[in-house]
Subunit: 235 residues, 2 copies
């Protein structure tokens, strides 16, 4: 009990904090590009669009990487957050469903620059297999297992129609994938130990529509909207 266990990072970071770390990482990247070497929690919080107290608390879960009276070393903090998230090395990723969205994702340069590498594009439609997208061959969906084994893929992206999403999920899980990013509007069933995150355009728009309706429907001059406070923009 006296000695720390074998894993060095034995703390468990709150989920809300984990979701913000990538935002901080991006803000730090911007600061690095601008040549900034040091920043205060106030600076970084502004760039990330959050409260500075919240930022400091978030960072405190990783350790004490700041210096009181000075602030944080941008490069050092960037590395520490990248290490904590696990993007100091690239993660291999497969994309399934190379339609409208799949094409856009395959061409997305941000993948590579943020710790991910697309190792394969898969589609069930044989007419797609002639194609190359972003310099990568589109391959038959049946090759999934082989590709996952060969590259040690842990993360899969689903960009198929909703009707196919569960089948694709099951195949991914069977092949050894344990993290899935789902763009299809479907609720996926997965066994324990597999993480699913969804990106859903329609849901986001409907949430906006709800608030929009309230603005219009309620008092025409109701300032009680919980809108974002004006903040610095970051790339």
């Amino acid at each position: 009990m006296t000695a720390r266990t074998s894993t060095e990072t034995a703390r468990d970071i709150p989920e809300a904090t984990v979701a913000r770390l990538p935002v901080y990482l991006r803000a730090l990247t911007t600061l690095l590009d601008e040549g900034t070497t040091t920043c205060s929690s106030e600076d970084l919080a502004g760039a990330a669009g959050v409260n500075s107290a919240k930022l400091r608390k978030d960072l405190s879960y990783l350790g004490s990487y700041g210096t009181r009276g000075v602030g944080y070393d941008v490069e050092y903090l960037h590395f520490q957050i990248a290490r904590e998230i696990g993007v100091t090395h690239d993660w291999p990723v497969v994309i399934v469903g190379i339609g409208n969205l799949g094409h856009a994702l395959a061409n997305f340069s941000g993948f590579r620059s943020r710790g991910f590498r697309v190792v394969a594009l898969l589609d069930a439609d044989p007419s797609r297999h002639e194609e190359q997208v972003a310099g990568i061959d589109v391959r038959p969906f049946a090759d999934l297992g082989e590709i996952v084994r060969e590259h040690g893929v842990a993360i899969g992206v689903i960009a198929t129609p909703a009707a196919a999403a569960q089948d694709v999920t099951d195949a991914m899980v069977a092949s050894g994938i344990t993290s899935i990013l789902n763009f299809a509007p479907a609720v996926l069933a997965v066994p324990p130990g597999v993480d699913v995150r969804k990106v859903d355009l329609s849901i986001e728009l409907q949430i906006l529509a709800y608030h929009e309706q309230r603005k219009a429907q309620g008092d025409p001059a109701d300032p009680s909207e919980p809108a974002e406070a004006p903040e610095e923009a970051t790339a």
Copy 2:
């Protein structure tokens, strides 16, 4: 103070509930398509991938639309949720930035079927203005104000590079748009009264990577992962 104010739906629904209503709506659409006329909270919760107690509590914010001992009338509940969200009529939407992602969004059929109508595609690059995407002309970004006024647009979608996102935002706000869905990896500054939601692929992947790293790094056989419980899939 004795009489209720003019607005009928004066309750304020928790934000977490608002974010789930679209999921319920979609599950109900599926049930409707299957010809189901009635469902219990257990059924619907399964289809939506949530706890049934949470579902009932969420619905209770809208009113008492169920019947004890029976369940909910699928069609009636669908209408009530759609009305609450505000998607009984279509919302006009503009998309700015018709590159890789913008093309995919313009071609996305789910817009129309879920309460939204793309009234214009805008891009700053003149070479794009020759183009038609999904039967809609790509127009100069300068036309934004005119289009917003003409169609009464309240919702804008940003699919430009991050560097342009704040400028686009400012122009949108100036033209009268009060809800923005942002796909660019940038923190946007907006005045009070304007809502911003972001969709960020890189952040989602990095969150997955964090958990993935934990699975691998910690004990190789650690079942303490807070993974999704197996649930029914829905279209």
